[in-house]
């Protein structure tokens, strides 16, 4: 049995969801791509940080065993939607080790990533 790859706590220090309105010709989809190579489901908590207000969340998502999931920040709405047109950052915590990559897609080219970078793993996290 193989050891799952990754860490249980990650951070993405950069994020921005565009204002959306009739004058916008396209949208950006901010995404946290999460890979779970473990043999059991990963229960993930996402916390979103802002420059001018208290953090939002936790948003809860499940990444099944041996699966990947592309979580769009635009789609998170429980406990509240992420405000548009403002900077944010996020932490991703999981009860099993996962790998997180931060990718931004352009709706005009839905299958075309603009940026992508591995998130920052915390190697010293204890507990969930």
């Amino acid at each position: 049995m193989e050891k799952p790859i990754g860490h249980r706590r990650w951070a993405i220090a950069e994020g921005h969801i565009m204002e959306q309105g009739p004058t916008q010709e396209f949208a950006i989809y901010e995404t946290a791509c999460i890979l779970n190579t473990a043999e059991r489901d990963a229960h993930v908590k996402i916390t979103v940080y802002f420059s001018d207000r208290a953090p939002a969340g936790p948003y809860r998502v499940t990444v099944p065993a041996h699966r990947t999931r592309h979580v769009r920040f635009n789609d998170l709405d429980d406990p509240e939607p992420i405000p548009r047109g403002t900077d944010y950052a996020s932490t991703i915590e999981s009860d099993v080790a996962v790998v997180v990559q931060h990718t931004r897609y352009d709706s005009r080219q839905a299958e075309n990533a603009q940026i992508s970078t591995i998130a920052f793993p915390s190697v010293d996290y204890r507990g969930f």
Copy 2:
């Protein structure tokens, strides 16, 4: 004699191969760039993870000693091609230490990368 640089297990949490058809004016080439600085060949196993089905693979490639190899996910077809138009992620395991970088090329500008990021190295992997 110099110690090879890298790790034996890596993950890429983000991937997407476009649907290909007559209405597509260009294609994206997802690539895992693998560098082997060791004095012997690296035997590499790639496993591909999806959101809605069991993983595919392992796909086997060899990176010769003191060489680099750009592996296109589009070209992997044994044991099966990677489905188009769906999200995926991957792990890369090698019997010698290698370095892995994830790059996406646009066929309209074949020598022009769109994104590139170092993959995630697992520092605690034991065994192959």
Copy 3:
């Protein structure tokens, strides 16, 4: 109480602020996105390195507890503005652990990042 995520010392090895003038149709905004998940404010010192002169700084910014801040290098002016049209690099030091991501925005698409990569964390830093 949760342990803050990150490190206290980071480096960004690449940077370039465009010359700005009437013939420039757009500007690039170099940004260090800093996330502070700690329960107290982070006092941050940024030092900027060049190819042909002594380093500039330190520039001092505060990232409040549980907040993120996108610091534009273009805006740094105390003790001196960063020269335009020249290569630079930077280090970011904080008195509490933070996460740093390096992002470059294009003023024509102000909400559209061009590149983004996690900065380099120094794991062995002692003292502030």
Copy 4:
């Protein structure tokens, strides 16, 4: 006196210098951005790996104390130019700790990076 930030051995797994000729409307400048925060000069050796021939180099560059240097792979010519139109990878070794970031510039927008990612640091390197 502050400890220099970084490592003494790095790898960039992806690289490609375009063919250059009259039909090319633009060129790509592959760059290794090297930051030396130490109090003494860094003597750097770059080795370039290919898919189909023995490695080239070492190419030698010096990054002065407290300076940054953007090394263009296109400009390396001693002991030999890097072949155009082929994939390559590289290792960067230094006698003092440095930080390396891999960036690709487009000559049409000389101050506009296309991709940028921190290189892969080897934490276990002994000796130079």
